[in-house]
Every structure is written in C-alpha cells, then in structure tokens.
C-alpha cells in the first residue's frame, strides 16, 4: 500500500510504500490518551503477476475507540459495528447511514464508508472493487483521515505520527536515475535522505482512476521518515 501525507499549507506532500508479507497487520493510528486504535491487515494478489512484483493491499481494518466503547471491523466483504454488546452488520452493497450518540456511519454503496467518532476523529474507508475474475488482483481498501485535530499529542502509528505535522527541508535537486525524475536531499527527523519526486493517487473524488498528487517519495519503506522501521508497527491481532 502507498502512504501519503498531504500538506496543503506547504503546497507539498510526502509519500512512501510499505510492503510486507500478506497477512501482516500494521498499526496505522494509536492514541493511548483517547483510546483510539486503527490496525489494518494486508493481503497479496491472487497469484504472482507477470512482472513478478508482489503487490499488497489493505483488505481489513480494525478500529477501536475504548472510551466510547465502539469497535468496528471493516473488510472488503462487510462492515461490522460492535457497541454495548450489540453487533450491527452493514453491507457494501447497500447505501446506509447509522447515527448514534458516539458514532456516525455513512455507507455509499460499493464505494465508501465515512466514520465520525465523537470528539475524536473522522475518516473515510474506500472500497476498491476489482473484477471478480481478475487473474491477479482482488478487492482492497483505502483509509483516509479527514479530521484528526482532536487527537492527543501522543498519537502515533504509521499515519498517526504525522497528524501533528512534520518538519522537513528539501534541497539539492539533481538528476535522478531517470533524467525526468529528479532526486533531492531531504532533511527530516535529524536525518538526511535521498528522495525522488513522484506522485501517488488520491481516490477520494474518483475511486476508479484517482487523482495524481505530486509528492516526495521516500524510498525503502519510508526509512528515515517514519519513526523506527516498518516492523515496529506490526502487531499480532486486528484489535
């Protein structure tokens, strides 16, 4: 999956890929103060594609808001909400909305799920539906944080660590491996990284084609940009 940190006030964005074995579960957001946790599990293609590259995608998210007592499990197949010992199941094939005292859900048929957790966070999960008989690919999900300003300063995770901004400088633009794709030096978190100008896609407005967002691509699973390395974010269970 590709990660994107869009920073409109700087007119810029940062991006990196995280890849691991299919089945791995990563922590995307963890805020111990508000008791919010978002974990996601990746899957691979159905078989190794002709280019030999194993692509992984998120197919299942587990979301917990401990203080509100809400638990959500969102997969490419269904959406389950657990609250007060009850389970509500929603299907991607229906347009539905659920308004509660602590959580609002809006499912747009076969497309997106918008979740608002009271006084804490708002995010949207996109469903990418792939042709069922596609020889390689299968359905997958995208996770977009829409509002995170109420989360505590100790929020962390692969996405969460960026919620309170990131300081960086880019200098020394120079020709990259491919002449049209310049490299540059990025100073971030006290480190000096070689980055490459690139783009990644934001699928919120156009779930099929997405829109290109230019970004500085940080190589090797975001090494140097993320705290620690990607294995530090691997957990054993979805909740």
């Amino acid at each position: 999956p590709h990660f994107m940190i869009e920073l409109p006030d700087r007119g810029d964005a940062l991006c990196f890929n995280i890849n691991d074995k299919p089945g791995t579960i990563f922590t995307l957001v963890r805020d111990p103060e508000s008791g919010i946790l978002v974990n996601g599990q990746i899957i691979g293609d159905k078989k190794i594609p002709p280019d030999g590259k194993i692509n992984t995608y998120f197919w299942r998210f587990g979301i917990i808001h401990q203080t509100l007592g809400v638990r959500l499990e969102v997969s490419t197949r269904e959406i389950s909400v657990f609250q007060d010992g009850k389970r509500v199941k929603l299907l991607w094939s229906d347009t539905a909305s659920l308004k509660g005292p602590n959580v609002d859900l809006l499912v747009t048929k076969d497309r997106s799920l918008t979740v608002t957790l009271k006084d804490s966070v708002k995010f949207v999960i996109l469903l990418h539906k792939v042709w069922e008989k596609h020889p390689y690919h299968r359905d997958y999900l995208g996770f977009y944080t829409l509002d995170s300003h109420l989360l505590s300063p100790s929020v962390h995770g692969l996405l969460g660590q960026f919620y309170h901004g990131i300081e960086y400088e880019v200098t020394d633009l120079r020709p990259g491996e491919v002449p049209e794709k310049p490299d540059a030096t990025m100073y971030v978190k006290g480190q000096e990284l070689n980055v490459t100008r690139g783009w990644q896609r934001d699928f919120r407005r156009d779930v099929k084609n997405g829109e290109n967002v230019p970004c500085w691509f940080i190589h090797s699973n975001g090494t140097g940009l993320i705290d620690g390395d990607e294995t530090d974010y691997i957990v054993s269970g979805l909740f």
């Binding site: 590709h2 007119g11 890929n17 280019d51 020889p135 997958y140 002449p179 100008r197 783009w199």
Partner: protein, 624 residues
C-alpha cells in the same frame, strides 16, 4: 478558456502548410478579458505526437513573450526552485493515442487582450497508401473568427484528397471548401459564430473534434521523386505496380494469465481475420506461449485453404494461462524459420518475419531484458524481421521497440480498447505486404553529405521510403541516384539523374512560400533517426547520436525529448514569475502516464503554481 462570460474569444485559427509531406502548422488564438479584474486565461491545444513544437509565443498588453528551445538539463535548472517547493504541472500531456496536449495559462489584466501562437512541424508518414493531417479543435464557446486553412503543395501531383471531421453535420459539411489543382490543394473551413452554435440561442459549440485531411500523391515510377531545394535534397521512393514478395511469417502469441478476458478474446478475433488475409503463396506458423512454448505445428505451413482452416480451428482454442517466457518463444520461432530454410521448404525469394504479440514482462525462463535482446539478435543474425506488438499498458514498450529495431522490424503499441482487434489487424496490414527487401538508395559520395538512413530492410505496400541529405555542391546540375532492392522475381535496380526543381515554374502564383522546408525536413528526419539510434545502438553510438540530436534540436529549434521550450511568464501581482517549460514526451512517458500507477514517479515537465486554495492536511493509505 476561462470564467465563462468573462472572456471573449476573438479568434481561433489553424493554418497548415504542407510542402512535400512536411507540415508546418500555426495555431493562433486571441481573447479579451472582459472582466473588471485580472484573471487567468488558458490556452490548450492538441498536436500530433509525431510533431515537434518549434515555437510558442504569447502577446499580452503589447508585450510579446517568446519561447526559447534549450537543452533539457539547462531548462531544468530554471524550475528547480519551484520543484523544491513541491509545485508541479505538465505543459505537455498525453491526449489519447495520436495526440499530445499543450496547455498554458497566463494572468491577463482587466480589459486586456492576449494572443497565443503555437507552431509545430512534422513529416507526414504514408500509411496504407495515404498521408493524414489531423487537427483537433475544441473551442469552449462559439468564436468570432474560427478558421482552419490547409494549403498542400505536392510537386508530384495530388492523386486524391479527402476531408472529413468528426463534428461535421449536414449543415456544416457544405462549409468545407476544397480546391484541388494538379499540384496544389487548398482546404478551408470557416463557420460563422451562428453556424458554430448548437442551437440558435445556445452558448454551446458544434466545433469539437477532429478535422482530418487524407491525401496521396501520384506515385513516381522507378526512381521515385527527388526534390532539390536550397542545397538540400529529399528523395521519396514508393514506386507503383511492384509485385508483392511472398512472406514466411511466424506468429508468436502470448497466452499468459495476464491476457485473460478481453485481450485474449481480441487476439483470437484478430488472428482469425489475419489468417483469412494470408495469400496462398505465403507460409505461416503459430507459436503460443506462456511459461511453456507450444507450436501449432513443428514447421511452417503453406497458406492453403485447408491449412488456414486448420489453423483457425486451433486459434479458436486459444486460452490464457501461466507465466510469460518471451525468450524461448521467440527463439523457437527463429529456429523454426532457420530449419525450414535449411530444408528448402520455403521459397527462395520470400521474406522471413516473426510477429510477436505480448502484453507483459517476461517472468519465466530468461527474464533479463538485455539478455533476451542479445539472444534474439544473435539467433536472428540479420536474416529475418521481428515485429512486436505490445498489448496494453503493462508491457515494457521500449524493450520491444529496441528488440524490433535490432532485427529490422518495428514495434507498435496496442491500446486496450474495444478496437484492439482493428489495431492488431491494421498493423498486420501495414507490414504484411513487402514489395522489396534490402533496399539501398545510393548517391555519389562526393556530391552529398549528412545523409539520413539510406538502407531499408523492406519497403511495404502503402508506405514510402524517404531519404534526405545536403548537397556538397550547391550549384549541382544533376544528382546521380541509384536504387537497389530485391523484388519478387527479379532484383530491382534503377538509376537516373535528378535536378533542382524550379519552384517558380511549378507554383508561379505563389510567393516565396517554400524557404528552407527541405532543410527542415532533413533536420526533422535526421533527429528522429538519431533519437532511435540513441536507444538501440552500441554505447558509443548512443552517446554520439544523443549529442548530435541535441545539437540539431537546438539549431533547428525543435522540442524533442532532449530539449525543452522555456517561456518566461509575465510577473504576477505577487511578483513571482515562474517559467513555463514544454517538453516532448517519449513513448515510455506516454505509456507511464496512461498506466497511471500509484507509485510511479512524476515527470517534471513544468513546475508552476497549481493550488490556489488551502485545504486541511490529509493523511491516507491506499492501494497501488
């Protein structure tokens, strides 16, 4: 375009002059900002991807801003600053299969005019017996003065000319004026504002689509046609009435898993049509491959009705499965042709060709692309032609392109679309009728220099060979020309003399319109061939070809993949003046743009401000 109602587009004109296949097109647009405040006005045009931009200018408030062609690396330095602040946008983008979009915007003061002028040039290619001039027009609203004018000067004489447009209704059709004399054609299309409207009081315009002129010239017998102008010569060679040479063709068809669905169905459909079109004197073979290579028969078969029917039955069973082993499949085709030749099963006077159709990267057997190219080239040893069809966006087109060129062939991209079957058939039609092989066009060494490629593996029916060069003696009266080739029954050998044409006699009523077109045609052709060489030659050749192509692109002001056009925009109110940079896209960049995969890296064609609004930060993760 700009805010509707706040901008009046005074004129949109397309002026195309073609002299001996060399087309020079000027697109001009003039608009007025009617608003009481300054605003951004956009100029977007589409041009054929085979064309090179040669000039661009903007006139704002009496001040003209002219583009300057610079070495790409040097141009880059001008926008480094903008890049580091993360501002990007492309001035030249892919637009469909045949076109590229050039777009620029500029801030225009209240009640002021702006004029944009874009010029591009291209050598029209003869395909399936005709040249095509394609102009795409999309004014957003009816325009006071709208005009497309084309003047075609062909000293060989015009055989036919056909004009049509995708937007021509019965009302607009009579507005296309066509005047054709023996060596000249004039076409114009100039609807009034009312005629452009979709309905009497509507703001919509009917003018939206492609305006296409197709024509051919009278074919000169034997030697072809040689034109000498201002110290440069160009030789067009496509004699009529040559008998076709029988061919021995091996179709190497990728049936790997990624071909599943539409692609395999369209391949099946196209193959069935292609088989039907085989001439009875041709020989053919089918080799399907995934990770395994499966020939239909162990040697080539004569294209008799029975054999073709058998092959068609076999093609019906073509199914997708497995991985992709291009190396072994092509080598199998080569060895089949070699063995059949050795066993004298194939006619002596016939050409050998392999047509490879694949949609993906080799991932079984030999998967190192360089090694595959090396293996194929050494197996073929210059004895047959390899044509490659790259189906869809996942194939490494440059790999196929280089491999074809190393083996006297060419590559073509097949776009995944409902007409893929037609694309496959069309390509086959282009290359399926060789008329001559090993064609050599010779000129006296002491009379010419800087000759473009003068040896061609094949001349196909409906195409044309073009050679250009500089004369060392400007006052040369006659140029001795010889053409050699291998035809069906006999060797083709002609010789003759060409002399400089007197253009005042051919076109007595024209002013001096021709100028340096032969020199520019020569430069265009030379640069195209150097760019090819820079991809497939030896390391030394690549470096030299690149350096020479760059030098000539700068000298003749062509925007090629090695140069950029830099236009300095007028300062905006906040005092910034980011330069505009137009680049020429390569086929790989086009493919990449179309593929649009998530983590591919952006081409910094132009860096300027793109976001005027502020939105909150977004943090997300998604699939590729």
């Amino acid at each position: 375009s700009a805010n509707e109602g706040k901008v009046e587009v005074h004129s949109v004109t397309v002026d195309c002059k073609v002299t001996s296949r060399f087309a020079h097109t000027v697109m001009t647009s003039r608009a007025l900002n009617k608003a009481n405040s300054s605003q951004e006005i956009f100029f977007e045009v589409e041009l054929p991807k085979t064309a090179f931009i040669t000039n661009f200018s903007m006139e704002i408030e009496g001040q003209v801003y002219v583009g300057e062609v610079k070495e790409k690396e040097k141009a880059k330095k001008q926008y480094e600053k903008a890049v580091s602040s993360g501002q990007t946008a492309g001035l030249v983008k892919v637009s469909g299969r045949k076109m590229e979009k050039f777009s620029v915007s500029v801030n225009v003061a209240a009640k002021s005019n702006v004029t944009f002028v874009l010029t591009y040039e291209e050598l029209l290619q003869r395909k399936l017996g005709q040249y095509e001039i394609l102009t795409r027009v999309k004014p957003k609203t009816p325009v006071n003065e709208f005009q497309i004018v084309a003047d075609i000067y062909e000293p060989q004489g015009i055989a036919f000319i056909d004009v049509h447009a995708t937007f021509l209704s019965n009302d607009l059709l009579p507005l296309v004026e066509k005047t054709v004399t023996e060596k000249k054609a004039h076409i114009s299309f100039s609807p009034t504002m009312e005629q452009q409207r979709t309905c009497p009081s509507c703001d919509g315009t009917l003018i939206d689509g492609d305006f296409i002129i197709k024509y051919d010239v009278n074919r000169a017998k034997n030697l072809g046609d040689i034109q000498i102008v201002n110290g440069y010569f160009v030789h067009f060679f496509a004699p009529p009435d040559l008998p076709r040479v029988p061919k021995n063709v091996v179709f190497v068809i990728d049936r790997s898993g990624s071909m599943s669905g539409k692609k395999i169905a369209q391949t099946r459909e196209a193959l069935l049509e292609i088989l039907k079109d085989l001439h009875e004197e041709d020989f053919f073979a089918l080799i399907e491959f995934d990770h395994m290579v499966s020939p239909w028969r162990q040697s080539l078969s004569k294209a008799t009705k029975d054999n073709v029917a058998e092959a068609m039955k076999h093609v019906h069973k073509l199914r997708d499965m497995g991985a992709t082993n291009i190396n072994d499949a092509v080598l199998r085709a080569v060895s089949m042709l070699v063995k059949d030749r050795q066993a004298k099963r194939l006619p002596d006077r016939s050409v050998d060709m392999i047509i490879l159709l694949t949609d993906g990267m080799p991932n079984s057997g030999e998967s190192n692309l360089g090694k595959i190219q090396e293996n194929v080239q050494s197996a073929i040893g210059g004895n047959m032609s390899l044509f490659c069809l790259g189906f869809g966006n996942d194939v490494d087109y440059s790999f196929l392109d280089v491999m074809s060129k190393q083996n006297k062939g060419l590559a073509r991209r097949i776009y995944e679309a409902s007409d893929a079957t037609m694309q496959l058939q069309g390509f086959y039609e282009e290359v399926s009728s060789p008329l001559l092989s090993e064609v050599d066009l010779r000129y006296p060494d002491n009379a010419v220099e800087f000759l473009t490629t003068n040896h061609f593996s094949q001349l196909f029916n409906g195409s044309e060979i073009v050679v250009a060069g500089r004369l060392t003696d400007n006052d040369l009266d006659n140029l001795l020309v010889e053409v050699f080739g291998q035809g069906f029954e006999d060797d083709f050998k002609v010789q003759g003399q060409a002399s400089a044409s007197n253009w005042d006699v051919i076109y007595p009523d024209e002013e001096y319109i021709f100028g340096d077109f032969t020199e520019r045609l020569w430069a265009y052709l030379t640069i195209q061939q150097l760019l090819e060489k820079s991809k497939s030659g030896s390391p030394d050749e690549k470096v030299n070809a690149t350096a020479k192509a760059l030098e000539m692109s700068l000298q003749y002001s062509f925007v090629t993949p090695l140069t950029s056009m830099v236009v300095t925009k007028p300062e905006t109110e906040d005092g910034t003046d980011s330069p505009l940079i137009a680049d020429k896209l390569t086929e790989e960049q086009r493919q990449q743009a179309e593929r649009g995969q998530a983590h591919q890296l952006a081409s910094p064609a132009l860096y300027t401000r793109t976001h005027a609004y502020q939105s909150p930060p977004t943090y997300f993760v998604d699939g590729d």
